[in-house]
């Protein structure tokens, strides 16, 4: 999954040529309108354990709803997983994913995969886990 690199995506924006507002612009979701990307960051990339962190940028504009702002405010002091955000906000995980995807699209949040790039659930990782578990106080 690749929700972790919103900073790299803006430059690649390719606005559809020759579609000057004739196709019901108001139906374009916020993350499309503000993200300037070829396609919205899919919510399919999000997992319960996707790590969300604020980008230290401006707060979400008014076109985001109060729920978006609650999520953004929750994440201002530090990073949390999607499922922890859902629990703290009292929202279903699915709803939290939608909010997070919007805010990532708008550049207000960064999302990162639970398992850093180039690392898989493999032997090495399980061995590290076992060493760590045995070292727990």
């Amino acid at each position: 999954m690749t929700p972790g690199r919103p900073g790299t995506s803006g430059a690649a924006a390719a606005p559809e040529p020759g579609t000057p507002g004739g196709r019901g612009r108001r139906l374009v979701p916020a993350y499309l309108a503000t993200g300037g990307r070829e396609r919205p960051r899919g919510t399919a990339d999000f997992d319960r354990l996707t790590v969300l962190v604020s980008t230290d940028q401006r707060p979400p504009e008014m076109d985001f709803g109060p729920e978006h702002r609650r999520l953004w405010t929750l994440l201002r002091p530090g990073a949390l997983t999607v499922v922890e955000c859902a629990a703290h906000l009292g929202l279903p995980v699915s709803a939290t994913v939608f909010l997070a995807a919007d805010l990532v699209g708008g550049g207000h949040l960064l999302a990162r995969s639970p398992v850093p790039k180039a690392e898989a659930i493999d032997r090495t990782l399980i061995e590290r886990l076992l060493v760590g578990l045995r070292a727990l106080p």
Partner: protein
């Protein structure tokens, strides 16, 4: 009834319907107790703790978790079976089920999330959704009603998750040898079985180690 603390108390409460009353009580995190992840460079992993109702899933998670256990309210839509369908008007029932979870940071920049998932078959879709990407499952059992864990083991096997069985020793419950328990649970020879007291941290860590060792052995087997 839980009142999940809002990090910004001035904000209006969510309009979403509030969760069903919970049957297992837990300490409430007070305002300002959001425990953020210490760094963003950690590897996060997921384990599923499952088993029949009241077998001690939440207790084990609470014992291990470094944060007060949290829960999400998961909404499930299930079509009611039977006669309703014959009328051509399949009625949909919405069930809300609470999924408890906790977090355990393990030396080596690893964070283990433990999800307590209901073992009932009707929750299978939810179960699958939560179990996706999990390292494995801990199936809990109670010696007074071992058979209640059978459908849970079936579910885990259907999902293809490696699992270990943790027999929670309740005070006053009959004690049995591992051999007897294995026989009654009809466990495959390689499936780990651990007896534990879910309130005890050492015991609970031991169940995780047993599962981890088993997951590792399976990866070794599968390696070319």
């Amino acid at each position: 009834m839980d009142s999940v603390p809002s990090p910004e108390p001035a904000t209006a409460p969510v309009a979403a319907p509030r969760p069903e009353p919970r049957t297992e009580s837990r300490p409430e995190p007070g305002p300002g107790t959001v425990r953020y992840l210490p760094s963003t460079g950690q590897t996060l992993m997921k384990l599923v703790v499952t088993g029949p109702f009241g077998v001690g899933k939440t207790t084990l998670i609470r014992t291990l978790s470094e944060i007060p256990t949290l829960h999400t309210e998961e909404v499930m839509t299930t079509s009611s079976a039977g006669l309703d369908d014959l009328r051509g008007l399949p009625e949909k029932a919405t069930t809300t089920v609470a999924v408890d979870f906790g977090r355990l940071t393990v030396p080596g920049d690893l964070v283990l999330y433990l999800f307590g998932t209901p073992g009932q078959e009707r929750f299978f879709p939810l179960w699958q959704d939560i179990a996706r990407g999990a390292l494995g499952a801990l199936v809990m059992a109670d010696t007074r009603r071992l058979a209640d864990s059978f459908p849970v083991m079936d579910m885990v096997e259907e999902q293809g998750l490696p699992y270990a069985v943790a027999v929670n020793r309740f005070p006053g419950a009959p004690a049995h040898s591992d051999e007897v328990l294995r026989r009654h649970l009809d466990l495959a020879p390689e499936t780990p079985l651990v007896q534990c007291d879910a309130r005890n941290r050492r015991d609970s860590i031991g169940t995780l180690i047993a599962l981890g060792e088993y997951v590792l052995s399976r990866l070794t087997q599968d390696a070319p």
